[in-house]
């Protein structure tokens, strides 16, 4: 049973437009959420996170939105750049715990 789901395996966006990556979770106990970005032949790198006490967190071109009632979070990238082309993993867990549950990832293609 996948507790963190990224239902879109891939997404293609034009440079300069907005990229929206979605993530759903099933465990209502999760209170901390993260996005990681992964380039080919490299390990994932931390991108942005959000605590369940917030509904939005912004860092430059990246914004994560959390909808607790829907158990849904999304990552917005504005404007999208070709260098953003990568696999994006959504992850969730419990504050104070150590176990992070990752989704299957969404591959983003940003076309120049």
């Amino acid at each position: 049973d996948q507790q963190v789901k990224q239902n879109s395996p891939s997404l293609s966006v034009q440079e300069g437009r907005i990229s929206i990556l979605n993530c759903d979770y099933t465990n209502s106990m999760f209170d901390y959420f993260l996005w990681y970005k992964k380039y080919p032949a490299e390990g994932p790198t931390f991108l942005i996170s959000i605590s369940s006490i917030k509904d939005k967190n912004e860092d430059g071109r990246f914004t994560v939105f959390l909808n607790k009632s829907a158990k849904h979070l999304s990552l917005h990238i504005v404007p999208s750049q070709p260098g953003d082309s990568a696999v994006y993993f959504c992850a969730a867990g419990l504050t104070g715990g150590f176990k992070t549950i990752f989704g299957a990832g969404t591959r983003l293609f940003v076309k120049a």
Binding site: G43, T45, F46, S49, G96, F98, T100
Partner: protein, 117 residues
């Protein structure tokens, strides 16, 4: 520039052989995680350690996988005997956790791509 290192980067072996993957966490980090990436499951947590002590290895097939930290600079993941279904990319990550668990960032190594024929 501190980073997590993993060896080997690629490993091709035959079914039934023993495989050992090694990880050097970032100096000073007190947690180490092992993940496996497959196309279907994404990143699966296999095991993690805090201060070299195993906290959870429930994600690992116990009969063939083992994870250890013989010292603070080395973590190992061993598969014996290996099977074709073990083919995947195995990532090690380390972090500095100061009582807040996953709120602290994990730093991933480049991974070991394992192919079991």
């Amino acid at each position: 520039d501190a980073r997590v290192t993993q060896t080997p980067r690629h490993k091709v072996t035959e079914m039934g052989q023993e495989v050992t993957m090694r990880c050097q966490p970032i100096l000073g980090h007190n947690t180490v995680f092992w993940y496996r990436q497959t196309m279907m499951q994404g990143l699966e947590l296999l095991a993690y350690f805090r201060n070299r002590a195993p906290l959870d290895d429930s994600g690992m097939p116990k009969d063939r996988f083992s994870a250890e930290m013989p010292d603070a600079t080395l973590a190992t993941l061993k598969i014996q005997p290996s099977e074709p279904r073990d083919s995947a990319v195995y990532f090690c990550a380390s972090g500095l956790v100061q009582g807040r668990g996953i709120t602290d960032t994990q730093y991933f190594g480049p991974g070991t791509r394992l192919t079991v024929l």
